[in-house]
């Protein structure tokens, strides 16, 4: 995280089920915020890199998010594209949980 980054409150930690994802909109940007079964939190860009489809409607399986449109997959912990038709990696963001809230570094 560089000095320019600021921590932005995304949601309450309990607002995301274990092994699930929620959408977080900030200004004209949109993100997907994830919670693993081990209660770790991650954040990525909201839209799939294949087409403009929001990943928060997708399915979380372990560390993978499957896109709801063409079943492309990403590892949301690294942003790596894991299944075609996605070929381009996803931007990830640093996350911290404080006082029961999830913050992402923008």
């Amino acid at each position: 995280m560089t000095e320019k980054n600021t921590w932005v409150l995304a949601c309450g930690a309990d607002e995301i089920d274990a092994e699930d994802v929620v959408r977080f909109d900030y200004g004209d940007r949109t993100f997907s915020v994830y919670r693993t079964v081990d209660n770790e939190y991650y954040a990525t860009d909201g839209y799939c890199t294949h087409e403009r489809v929001h990943l928060a409607d997708g399915l979380v399986m372990g560390h993978l998010i499957e896109c709801p449109k063409h079943n492309g997959r990403f590892d949301y912990t690294t942003g790596r594209a894991k299944r075609k038709p996605v070929c381009v990696d996803l931007q990830t963001y640093q996350v911290k949980v404080e006082g029961g809230n999830v913050y992402i570094a923008l």
């Binding site: 087409e51 997708g58 399915l59 399986m61 709801p68 449109k69 079943n71 299944r83 075609k84 038709p85």
Partner: protein, 370 residues
């Protein structure tokens, strides 16, 4: 209903693609029925059990009927036995290709991939190019100039439909592509939806297909009988009828150039045997709206959605009757479109989507005429 002016260009490289883009129809947002997230998560849940069971039954039936077919070779018994073998080869070949291509049939990724590769060869669809073609079909379903999987144009080309009863149109086209791919080349229209990074894989898959094809033909020559080809290559032709009939029910006669799958896709009820062969793709509106839901959960998804979708066709014959009637009408009036009324509980067509003047005027025009 006013006739459409002139014949449209269904190719992916013509003007219609550009027109679709100008009309806001490309990779656009589609209507979805609202389903609570918790329920959606249950429906999307992946399992290995149903697909392993169904795959074992499928391969078991193929081996059983294949053995009977060999035993009956040279007698009249071979006619009905090969007919059943052909249907068991091509119809689940097509539906397994489809579901495993989406990656939803099995929970375990390599199982999806293995069945996808086998089924792709069985139905003569190059695995990698068709994966991309099918993605485009889901992005731009029945958008003219964009969707490479439109079964027939308006007005319909009956000759192609008749030939497809025995895969005599698509089969040779795919064979030509296998050959082209195995020499490291692709067709111009394929370059519209296959990324360059996937070419290498495409070429190697085609070489494997060609090896199996040549091997089977050589085996037939070696034993001096058509039997090896009757078991491996030819069923994709003589067993194709049901693949065509199922395929015809999916979208034909309904709207093109809209953004609501309730307008351009058809759900029909089928008996359990046909649903096994087709892997529940008769729930076609449901599949297009939520491709994340595996085939085994589609009946449950249908229950969830049926208050928001048109009443399904009661069976395969009823759906085909509707389709053929519409195609016959499109011969004289290519714009003829079936309008399926929504139940009172449904949200209106295109509800909640950004207004699209072209689609809106199209729906209004046909709704009034219908």
């Amino acid at each position: 209903m006013g006739a459409q002016s002139g014949k449209r260009d269904y190719s992916l490289t013509g003007l219609e693609g550009k027109r679709a883009e100008e009309r806001g129809l490309v990779s656009a947002q589609w209507y979805t029925t609202s389903i609570p997230r918790q329920r959606m998560k249950e429906l999307m849940k992946r399992k290995d059990g149903p697909a392993i069971r169904d795959t074992l039954i499928w391969f078991g039936l193929l081996i059983g009927f294949g053995a009977l077919a060999v035993w009956s070779w040279g007698t009249w018994w071979s006619v009905p036995i090969f007919a059943i073998y052909g249907i068991l080869y091509a119809t689940p070949g097509d539906s397994r290709w489809h579901e495993c291509g989406h990656g939803t049939a099995f929970k375990t990724a390599w199982m999806n991939e293995a069945v996808y590769q086998i089924a792709s060869f069985m139905v003569f669809r190059s695995a990698t190019p068709w994966r991309w073609s099918h993605s485009r079909h889901h992005s731009d379903t029945y958008i003219v100039g964009r969707d490479p999987e439109i079964l027939t144009e308006r007005p319909p080309i009956w000759k192609i439909i008749a030939m497809q009863l025995f895969h005599l149109y698509g089969g040779p086209v795919e064979l030509k592509r296998f050959l082209l791919h195995s020499f490291g080349r692709i067709e111009q229209h394929e370059s519209q939806y296959i990324p360059v990074s996937e070419y290498r894989k495409t070429f190697w898959e085609a070489r494997v297909y060609m090896l199996i094809l040549v091997g089977t033909v050589a085996a037939s020559f070696y034993v001096g009988s058509l039997l090896p080809m009757m078991l491996v290559v030819l069923p994709t032709f003589y067993g194709n009828a049901l693949v065509l009939l199922f395929g015809m029910t999916q979208h034909l006669g309904l709207f093109d150039d809209v953004l609501d799958h309730r307008l351009n896709s058809r759900t029909m009820y089928l008996n359990p045997v046909l649903r096994f062969l087709y892997w529940n793709m008769n729930y076609h509106i449901e599949h297009h709206m939520f491709p994340m839901v595996p085939y085994h959960a589609l009946p449950a998804l249908h229950q969830e959605m049926k208050g928001d979708t048109p009443v399904p066709s009661p069976g395969l014959f009823a759906a085909l009757r509707e389709v053929i009637d519409a195609l016959l009408k499109q011969r004289n009036d290519p714009s003829y479109t079936i309008v399926r009324p929504l139940p009172d509980t449904a949200r209106p067509y295109m509800a909640g989507l950004p207004e699209n003047p072209y689609v809106r005027s199209k729906i209004n025009k046909y709704m009034k005429a219908g």
